[in-house]
Every structure is written in structure tokens, then in C-alpha cells.
Amino acid sequence: MALKDITLGQYYPGDSAIHRLDPRTKLIGTILFLVSLFVVKNFTGFLFCAICLAILVKISGVPFRYMARGLKAVIFLIVFTALINLFMTPGTPIWQFGILKIAREGIYRACFMAIRLVMLIFGSSLLTLTTKPVALTDGMERLLSPLSKIGLPSHELAMMMTIALRFIPTLLDETDKIMKAQTARGADFESGNLRERAKGLIPLLVPLFVSAFRIAADLAMAMEARCYRGGDGRTRMNGMAFTKLDTVAAILLILYFAAVIALGRLPLF
């Protein structure tokens, strides 16, 4: 798998209703969606969440296949969580082998956690796939700005995130380039035991750190040369404004959350 194939959190260009929503609406919406996944008590609730999410993905125009690729990066985590739940949940045992036991409750919990994790990832990647990183951090800064009165450095936090997001692709490119250069000198990043592999990473990591420091120093210099001095009194080139679309989204969101809570109270499977 090339590094480029990791789609988790990469912006997918488009002009759908979801893309056009104000980043603040999308942020709050995503947070509510993630919270709703923890409010859900039964599979019917998950089915409802999944249908809503599927509709949103459809509207956004991001191909499902493309989104699913994001899962590849975390599949290990999901399988691991499911297995832990499968074997560690106490209850009525239905299968036993030595110290390994599977309880009926374990199967239920494992499925529940796996579905929850997958939906968490899909939900949050929908946000990052449809929102440009800069818009996302701008939105975050605006949402957090009331807290700056009590000393939270919201601008600095947002700026740090913007820069980090901005440089993920750059560093991936850089990694790719250095890997190729070392491979051309016969380096092998793919075979050998764990220790050999870890040692094999040195020719990659040293130049990568050197590059990262160089890039950081250049960036700091460029920002200072343009008189960057933090958040106070800074104005924006592209202001943010709520539109009718955001009102519609807010109403739908409230309805959705109410429905999730209601479903949780019903005695369903």
C-alpha cells in the first residue's frame, strides 16, 4: 500500500450541499453525531444512524469506496477492540477452549463496539472529506473563541492544527521521496524480522527529521517575514456566515437527535 492510499481525513473536492455548509455547523453536527452513537442502546438505533449517515454520504457525492479506504488504516484497531470484547465479556458461556471463553453477551458487545467504531470513523471522515482543512480549523477557532476570555489560546491552537494538517501531505510526499531514494540504494523496508525492520527505518527517519526541521524553520521565517504576530486583531480574508442551508441542517440535526433518544427508550433489539 502506497502512503498516498491513506484517505483518512483527506479533503475530497466537491460542491455538494454538505461541502457548502458552514464549517461550524458541520463541526457541531459531527460532534452531535458522535455523541448520538454513544446514546444508542440497540441495533435498531444503529440502523437508524447508519441510514442517516448513508443519506449524508450520498448527498456529499464522496464515493463510498473512497471513504471505505479510510478504514484500512484503522482496521487493526477495530478488529482488536472487537476481539477483546468478544473474549473478555463475562456472561453465559456458549463456547470454551482452555482459558478462552466466548459468552453470548460477548458476541453482542463485540458487534456493538465494531459497529460503533466504524460509524465513528465514517462520521468524522465525512467532516474532513467535505471540509477544507483551513475552513475546519477556522471554524474550530471561532467556536472556541469565547473560551479565550478565560485564557484558552484558541487562535494558537487553531493555527497549530492548520499547520499540522497542511503539512501531513508534505511530509508524506517527503517520506515517499526519501524511501524511494534509499530503495534506489538497495534499502529494504519490507522484509526481515522486527528488529531488522526497526533498524532499517533509520535511513528513512534521520533524513525525514532533518527535512521536517528545515520545513518548520522555513515556515517560521516566512510567517515572520509577513509580520505574523498571533491572533489579536487579525481579520480574515474569507468571513464565515450562516446561510439558509445551515438553518435547515440545524433543524434536521435536532430532529435526528430527538429520534435517537426516543429509539433508545424503546425496548427494541
Binding site: K4, Y12, P13, Y66, K177, I178, K180, A181, Q182, T183, A184, R185, G186, A187, D188, I202, P203, V206, P207, V210, S211
Partner: protein
């Protein structure tokens, strides 16, 4: 070593929204001992092509043969063939990582299983070849060297693997005029002394005309022209239409001709150009 490229196509991020076709049906052969220059506008696919030549990238379609061996195979022969095609990347100094210059140059041969003594012997020879004194600089950290020296050490790192083909991707990018001349003189010397096949990517038409026996022109992923410098650089309009130019002497002669001086425009070195201009002025 003879390199054959057959109907090579490469598509970046195939099936994704940012899909881009970097190479399209490129076929070419570079004979053993040839000095070929690859020219083309930025983004025309030069780097992508070079990375295919030593198996770093897998073609979407087509194949690359080194002395008849498919370079992408998993066999021992293919690995050996890849070693013999040395690739120097753009800004190769960013690949340096070892504590000392000598150790860094040893990295390549070490990976191919040579004994420590052999590695060191190869490294010392390679350093001498690029004009770095192994006794004086061999023990210092590569990060303490000047930009030009770092680059030469990185090139030595590739030469230490005893390649038969040396591919250089814009080896003079970002160097001052002296560094630029030094690197190219060095490449020329290596070509003559070690009889290596050379492929050089360059944005400088004067260098290409002066050094190469053969010019390959890439345009939007296709091989637009392939021939001797004389043949290729006589296509003045065509080269300009794809964002390139001819050597500066030829550009000057074209300018003089357009102002009414009757000169032959297909002259690609300064001395001959001066002769031609003087002849035209005195003859007139």
C-alpha cells in the same frame, strides 16, 4: 548496459479523483555507453520515467528491460539489474543520514551484501571519482559539508554500487554556477573514464547540447522527439510550443535572422556561433 522501454504508461492515483496520467506509451532504447539528455517542461513526466528505469515504480502498462531482463521481476537477476542502474534523485543530499561520509557512501554496497572491506574500497573509489578527498572528509558528518559537497557525496553513494548506467535527475538544481559546472564536468569525466551509460535530466539546453549524444524530449507524458542534438534542436518552433527552447547560441542566431541578418540558425555552441555571425557581417 542497454535499457529498453516498451510502451510504458503510468497513471498516478488511478481510480481516484486526482488521477493524473504521467506517462503515455513511451518507447525508447538507450544503448550501452550512450550519453542521453532528457528534457521537458516541469510536469512532463521526466522524474516518473527515470524512476521506472530502475524498478522503483511499477508501470501501469508496458515494461522496462535492462539487457533483456525485465527489471520489475522478483528474481535475483532483476535485483542485480536494478543495482546496475544507479539513480541519483533531485536534491540527493536529502537522503544522507549516516554519522560519517564514508559510512553513508557504504550504505548502498552494504545493502547488496558486499563485505565491509569491499564496501569501504568501493566507497573510497567513489568518493575519489566525485572529487571528495576520502582521507580528509571521509570521517566527518555529512551534515557539516557545503551544499555542493553534500550533493557529490550523495552521488558517490550511488556510484559506490558500481552501476553501469547512471541516471541523474536535475543534478545541478539549486547550485551556483561553479557548483553547476563542477557537477557536470564530473559527470562527463565519469562517462569517459568508466564508460557508463548516462541519462541526464536537464533544464539547461546549452548543457544538453554540449554534453549529450542524444536528446529525448518529453511533453505531457509522451516522447515528443528523440534524436541527436542537431536533429532535435533544429525544431525551433516545435520546442518553443511545448515550453522549451534551443541552446542560447541558436536562440541568438534566430533573433539575428529575424532582424534580417542572413545566418544559419542550427549552430549550438558559442564558438561556432561567433564564427557564423562574423562571417555573416563581413560577408554582407
Amino acid at each position: 548496459m542497454r535499457i529498453e522501454v516498451k510502451d510504458l504508461s503510468y497513471i498516478y492515483s488511478e481510480g481516484m479523483p486526482f488521477e493524473s496520467v504521467a506517462l503515455e506509451d513511451v518507447s525508447l532504447t538507450v544503448e550501452s555507453g550512450e550519453f542521453a539528455a532528457v528534457i521537458g517542461h516541469t510536469g512532463s513526466g521526466k522524474s516518473t520515467l527515470l524512476m521506472h528505469l530502475n524498478g522503483l515504480m511499477k508501470p501501469t502498462r508496458g515494461q522496462v528491460l535492462a539487457d533483456g531482463v525485465d527489471i520489475h521481476e522478483k528474481t535475483k537477476e532483476a535485483r542485480e539489474a536494478r543495482r546496475k542502474v544507479g539513480l541519483v534523485f533531485q536534491y540527493p543530499e536529502y537522503q544522507l543520514f549516516e554519522e560519517t561520509v564514508l559510512k553513508d557512501v557504504c550504505f548502498g554496497p552494504k545493502n547488496y551484501g558486499f563485505t565491509p572491506e569491499e564496501c569501504e574500497a568501493k566507497a573510497i573509489e567513489a568518493l575519489k571519482l566525485v572529487g571528495i578527498d576520502p582521507d580528509e572528509k571521509g570521517g566527518v558528518s555529512p551534515f557539516e559539508l557545503s551544499g555542493g559537497e553534500k550533493r557529490r557525496v550523495a552521488i558517490a553513494g550511488v556510484l559506490a554500487m558500481d552501476p553501469q548506467v547512471l541516471i541523474l535527475d536535475e543534478p545541478t538544481a539549486g547550485l551556483d554556477p561553479k557548483g553547476h559546472r563542477d557537477i557536470l564536468d564530473m559527470v562527463c569525466r565519469i562517462h569517459k573514464e568508466k564508460h557508463l551509460t548516462i541519462l541526464l535530466v536537464s533544464h539547461n539546453m546549452d548543457d544538453a547540447a554540449r554534453l549529450a549524444d542524444r536528446i529525448l524530449v518529453l511533453d505531457k507524458g509522451r516522447l515528443a522527439m528523440d534524436g541527436t542534438p542537431q536533429e532535435v534542436f533544429s525544431h525551433y518552433e516545435e520546442l518553443h510550443s511545448i515550453g522549451l527552447s534551443t541552446p542560447s547560441s541558436s536562440e541568438l542566431l534566430h533573433l539575428l535572422k529575424s532582424k534580417g541578418l542572413n545566418v544559419n540558425t542550427n549552430i549550438f555552441n558559442e564558438d561556432e556561433a561567433v564564427e557564423e555571425i562574423l562571417k555573416a557581417i563581413h560577408g554582407a
